[in-house]
Symmetry: C2
Subunit: 248 residues, 2 copies
């Protein structure tokens, strides 16, 4: 029996956003590995073993998945959104470092609908021009680096998407980022808080930067900051394709 | 009859990357509007009228779609990839400016797998840390702004994804961007040229920045530039999650 490992994205929550490619590998898997709430999205069936694990054990999880694939299992590592955006794909490749026997395995990454694109679609098209994507979690990088990147990106008038803006263990980071944004951007700059996108608890709120507060975000929120041209039209928020003024 | 308008992403090419949500609206549409090669991906059927149009007529296409929806048609505007990333969603919202009668229409944006995420998955996980996304087309913005943004993003050690890197009408822009990158990044920086991802003509090539040349890209290519930590492991390219050194 030849094992394989697929690192897949389940999209933001709605099963109608799971690609057929991902559904097909889940249907042929023997083992599913991932963070508890993501594994909970997989329907149990005969012949499929579910391996839910807690947050912040990404490296253990990646090694366990590789070991199972090496032993002949058909293993799917699940992430929400896209597996390559602040999710399990990089962790699996880190686990391959120095492990030549694992590097020869059949390993594939299957993309998914990442949260910022689902959020952008619900709001309109705030990422319709150049944009930057920043993980605000400071587990794996210093807050000073996050601040410097946000300052550079906003200074160059990119729109911004923030993942993991706020957690109970480090509630202050997002407040510092809002301070940076207020130093660089005008008070009217539009900022979108998109929580639990594509789930029954979905909530999309757009405010001016001057009215934004850290409490508007939690770990299930993706935050999108427009560029200087981002605007409302009717109930939508969008960023024009051109840097020239919009003519109606 | 109540019309509606859905602006959808077909993903990069493979039908296994079209979300069920998008397939469902296509199945209930009366009219499909879009650029010729994207409309060509829609199977003809009774009751469905296809409206292919040429490139660079995005505003005419958006207005035509809105007119049809206002007349009671069930209209799908198709883009490749995600409709909100350098695609039709912003054009439709631009067409809504000043058109209050159209703003009340049932308009939805449905996300898709954008090219950079499909390309990243094929290569490994080069976008596993903070990254910026830049449209290199200078149809709607000056090349100097593109250069300034690339300089700012690379200077802050973001990974980068470039859409529309090169066309026959402006072959020199991408060469100028490579020059900017060589001024900011080390010669060994990894750069991925992902052409026609998820199609039979797919080609993924990774080289060091010093070996990159403008001819490696065309309009069907997405270019991904790693950050300073992006590395190879086995046949994969990935960006570590942490800014601290990788320990095997």
């Amino acid at each position: 029996m030849t094992g394989w490992l697929c690192i897949v994205g389940l999209g933001p929550g709605d099963s109608a956003l799971v690609t057929p490619e991902v559904s097909a590998v889940l249907a042929s898997a023997s083992d599913v590995v991932g963070y508890i709430p993501y594994v909970a999205r997989i329907a149990p069936r005969q012949g499929l073993t579910l391996h839910p694990s807690d947050n912040r054990v990404e490296m253990d999880r990646a090694r366990a998945a590789l070991e199972m694939a090496a032993a002949g299992k058909k293993v799917v590592v699940v992430s929400s959104g896209d597996p390559g955006v602040f999710a399990m794909a990089s962790a699996v490749f880190e686990a391959l470092e120095g492990q030549v026997q694992w590097q020869a395995l059949d390993i594939r990454v299957l993309p998914g609908i990442t949260a910022m694109l689902a959020a952008s679609a619900k709001a309109g098209a705030p990422l319709g021009h150049d944009f930057c994507v920043v993980n605000l979690s400071d587990n794996l990088k210093p807050v000073a680096l996050i601040e410097a990147r946000v300052r550079a990106a906003a200074g160059a008038d990119f729109a911004l998407a923030f993942y993991n803006p706020r957690s109970a263990s480090r509630p202050e980071t997002f407040g510092r980022i809002l301070t940076v944004l207020r130093q660089v951007c005008e008070p009217e700059r539009l900022i979108i808080f998109a929580r639990a996108v594509s789930t029954p608890n979905e909530q999309i709120v757009t405010v001016a930067l001057v009215d934004a507060s850290p409490e508007m975000a939690d770990m299930r929120t993706v935050v999108i900051v427009g560029n200087s041209a981002t605007r409302r039209v009717g109930r939508f928020v969008y960023t024009p394709r051109s840097v020239l003024p919009v003519t109606a």
